[in-house]
């Protein structure tokens, strides 16, 4: 072997920093996962050991990050073509696909094992299933094959509050399913709003998101319909007693604004201008502002809904609604 061969080998050695691996875990998604899982855990009618509860949330965060890393490993080709994702660690060339797979699998296994130890086998099983669902069912099967990809795949993102609940109660109750359903129904309008103003990106990557496969007009109608179902369903916690007056008021006010923005999208021509040149998440062409507004607001809406549950159950702000709370 000659010195030049050594240099060639040396050039293949990674310069990835720990930060690059952290970025593989989709930190922004992890934040929402931690938050909604915490809400599920706090809202459960059980006094959990604080340390074990903290460890359960930590395991969920690592598990979600592992799923994100596996997603980025499989979708490296797509990410390289899309403006929004081409600065991720794999398209930038700092982390190899095989390293990302290895990192994802190890993080997934350790998070599930630790979850089993810190909470119970049901929560650990649900965590394992949600990682599998996101990495395999959604990423490898649904994403490239059907415009219903995020409708079905949205289930993966809906698991965290249910897992938080199960981690401390050990069982799946109606309230846990309601929390799951809220995020499940929230995902289509949230994702399609983004897809409307980034449709050019998805088309270039051959991902059959709804605006690419069925057109902008059909997507705007479906966003409106899903928004109506979501806002109505978001009132369910009040009927079971999971949510009190604070949650009820938040759900009502937040839902009204959600519907208003969904209506604005429906009446707009959002999605017909193609993607903005700028790859930034919120960069948008003039005609697509309604879609960008709902996308941004939808994150705030979900945050506020779950924050209301946290405030009610963790800070003693739960007030019954006469004639409604069971």
């Amino acid at each position: 072997m000659t010195p030049s061969d050594h240099r060639a080998e040396g050039e293949a050695v990674s310069t990835a920093s720990p930060r690059d691996y952290f970025d593989l875990m989709k930190p922004r998604v992890m934040t929402l996962v931690v938050f909604t899982a915490f809400a599920g855990l706090i809202a459960a009618p059980v006094d959990a050991d604080p340390f074990l509860a903290f460890m359960s949330i930590f395991c969920l965060a690592v598990g979600a990050g592992a799923a994100g890393a596996l997603n980025m490993a499989y979708d490296a080709d797509i990410d390289a073509t899309m403006q929004r994702t081409r600065k991720r660690p794999i398209p930038r060339g700092v982390v190899s696909v095989s390293n990302a797979y290895g990192f994802g699998v190890v993080a997934a296994v350790l998070s599930v094992l630790l979850m089993a130890l810190a909470s119970n086998y049901l929560a650990a099983g649900l965590l394992a299933f949600s990682i599998f669902f996101y990495a395999v069912i959604y990423t490898m099967i649904l994403k490239r094959s059907t415009p219903q990809n995020i409708v079905i795949g949205g289930a993966a993102g809906a698991f965290p509050p249910m897992i938080g609940w199960v981690a401390v109660t050990g069982e799946i109750s109606l309230d846990a399913v309601i929390l799951f359903m809220i995020i499940f129904l929230w995902t289509p309008p949230h994702s399609w709003a983004l897809a409307l103003y980034k449709s050019g990106d998805y088309a270039a990557a051959n991902v059959p998101m709804m605006p690419v496969a069925k057109g902008a007009k059909s997507t705007r109608l479906q966003i409106l319909l899903y928004s109506i179902v979501l806002v109505v369903f978001a009132g369910a916690p009040v009927l079971t007693g999971l949510g009190g007056a604070v949650y009820g008021a938040t759900s009502l006010g937040g839902g009204a604004l959600f519907l208003l923005l969904a209506w604005r999208i429906f009446r707009s021509r959002a999605g017909e201008a193609g993607s903005a040149e700028d790859g930034a998440l919120y960069a948008v062409r003039a005609g697509d502002k309604a879609a960008r507004d709902l996308f941004a607001y939808s994150i705030g809406y979900l945050t506020v809904l779950f924050a209301a549950l946290i405030v009610e159950h963790a800070f003693g702000a739960y007030v019954i609604i006469p004639g409604v709370t069971p």
């Binding site: 072997m1 000659t2 010195p3 061969d5 050594h6 240099r7 080998e9 040396g10 050695v13 990674s14 310069t15 990835a16 920093s17 720990p18 691996y21 050991d49 340390f51 074990l52 460890m55 350790l110 630790l114 130890l117 810190a118």
Partner: protein, 66 residues
Amino acid sequence: MTQDNDLMSAREGLPTGETVKLTPEQEGARNKRNIVIAWSLVGFMVAVFAITVVRLGQTAAAGAGA
């Protein structure tokens, strides 16, 4: 000694078996990754130990209350 000999251990003066010459940037990045991996392993062990202790405490308390 040829140019492509193994790198030498500073302490032992023996070949280390490392044949790839890393740039300072690659070496720095590898060191940072190794440190994080080491701390993660320590953290994992501490977490397993702490969870076990808390769980045992709970079991003991439940046994005493029964």
